[in-house]
């Protein structure tokens, strides 16, 4: 159902991933969703940003450890790059923010994981850090999530008991509330948020079928929020209580093709 028959007047759907990120310029700040499973990462948007080549980015992302597809190809050959469908068994063989790191596009990372995970093959971030080519702001997940939520909720700063007496709160003001020492944390806004959801309508209403993690948290915490979704549905298909992120927080929607993602090398 549309108010003007065949002519929808709110339509946030953008036809291509490249177009969706076309105005991400050098020096932009970017929130990138995704954490554990391949299906939680906005892999096509990240690839498009890799192609676009915007540099000196400040990227906030829960997990910036691991290696990118370029190093992975060198390590394991192209086969390891297939099967980007986000299903069990693909392990870390998917496009994450590590692509942007190993391509030298990131000036600063704000993250909870920069070191290689135990048992993983390495961390592009840590290599760049040792070379002095990237800056690190290490933050706990709760504080990172709350700073991003604060940005979308119009809260410029808040106090939290987390981090007091640790290097994670170095340089922060402290203050005691009800006998508990707390640190002052500031909202973390970005120019762009790249997120992933299961489905959207043309209003930008979003739903998930798994934990939405930072993907929902980041929606609206940037000047432009871009959602990569598995499928587009009609307005009205998503029930009012079912919508997790309302479309007013979302600026652009891009739909993933139904075929498996190509490897970085195949495509470039």
């Amino acid at each position: 159902m549309q108010r003007r028959g065949e002519h929808p007047v709110i339509n946030k759907v953008v036809p291509s991933f490249d177009e969706a990120v076309s105005d991400v310029n050098d020096g932009a700040s970017i929130h990138v969703g995704g954490f554990i499973g391949p299906a939680d990462w906005p892999a096509y948007l990240i690839s498009a940003l890799g192609r676009k080549g915007a540099k000196d980015l400040t990227v906030a992302c829960c997990n910036m450890s691991g290696i990118g597809p370029i190093a992975r190809e060198q390590l394991a050959g192209e086969e390891a790059l297939r099967g980007f469908t986000g299903m069990a068994g693909t392990g870390m063989d998917h496009v994450t923010v590590a692509l942007l790191i190993e391509r030298g596009q990131v000036r600063k990372g704000i993250t909870t994981f920069s070191a290689p995970m135990r048992g993983s093959t390495g961390s592009a971030f840590e290599s760049m850090l040792e070379q002095g080519r990237i800056q690190l702001e290490l933050v706990g997940q709760g504080t990172l999530a709350e700073r991003i939520r604060a940005a979308k909720a119009g809260i410029p700063a808040f106090y939290t008991p987390v981090g007091v007496g640790t290097p994670l709160a170095a340089g922060r003001e402290t203050r005691t509330f009800d006998g508990v020492e707390c640190v002052l944390e500031q909202a973390l806004h970005a120019d762009f948020a790249l997120i992933r959801a299961a489905a959207a309508d043309r209003y930008g209403n979003l739903v998930w079928e798994h934990p939405s993690s930072f993907n929902a948290t980041m929606a609206g915490a940037a000047t432009i929020t871009i959602a990569e979704v598995d499928r587009l549905v009609d307005v009205g298909d998503l029930g009012p209580a079912e919508i997790e992120v309302p479309g007013v927080l979302v600026d652009r929607v891009v739909v993933r093709p139904p075929v498996p993602m190509k490897s970085w090398r195949e495509e470039h």
Binding site: M1, Q2, R3, R4, P8, V9, I10, R149, A151, K152, A153, G154, I155, D201, Y203, N205, G220, D234, V235, G236, L238, P240, A241, I243, P246, G247, V248, L249
Partner: protein
Amino acid sequence: MLERLPPEIVALLVTRRFRDGDVVNLGIGMPLYCALNPPQDVEVIYHSEQGLLGFGPILDPVPDGHRLQTAGGHFVAPRPGMSFMSHDASFALVRGGFIDYTVLGALEVDAEGNLANFMRPGRLSGSVGGAPDLAQCARNTYVMMTHTSRDGAPKVVQRCTLPLTAARCVDRIYTDVAVMQVLDGKMMVEEYAPGWTLDDIQHITGAQLVASPVMREISLQ
């Protein structure tokens, strides 16, 4: 006797500013007239404080058992694309700047854009609702009210005397005689009701008025 505009007409002046995709919160009082006759040719997303986004038109009569209401108490139709949320999430949207227009009633507005609408003179108690957040944080805060009170006193004043709901927040004032833009401490008349002059309006206004460079007679064309 100069004629004043009926609220239905004032509402049209407000709602013709709305564009496709705009998020709009309409307060109680005179802004209700904007809700009674919403613009038909644009796709506006209406917000209501208690966690309701994208609802449809006011229902009259109300079907038996219907529960969907706005914060102002009006029963409304569901609409495709509508979403529900909690009060904290609803006001995260407000404070976060995601409301394009809020249209609020007022007891007083002044030349600094200060808004007083929660406590009547001589009362201890008030009705502030969500107005402080809406007025302070919406991208455009519009006041819609009669130009003078029932006893003829100015409601557009140089400096509010009633307790403020929000400070330096009002962008435009729509009354039954004029549309005024509040800019840099000036109360600029943009539009005036047919037959009225700037002097006529000044006569019933407590703030010093200035003619906008684009001042013109109100027209619905």
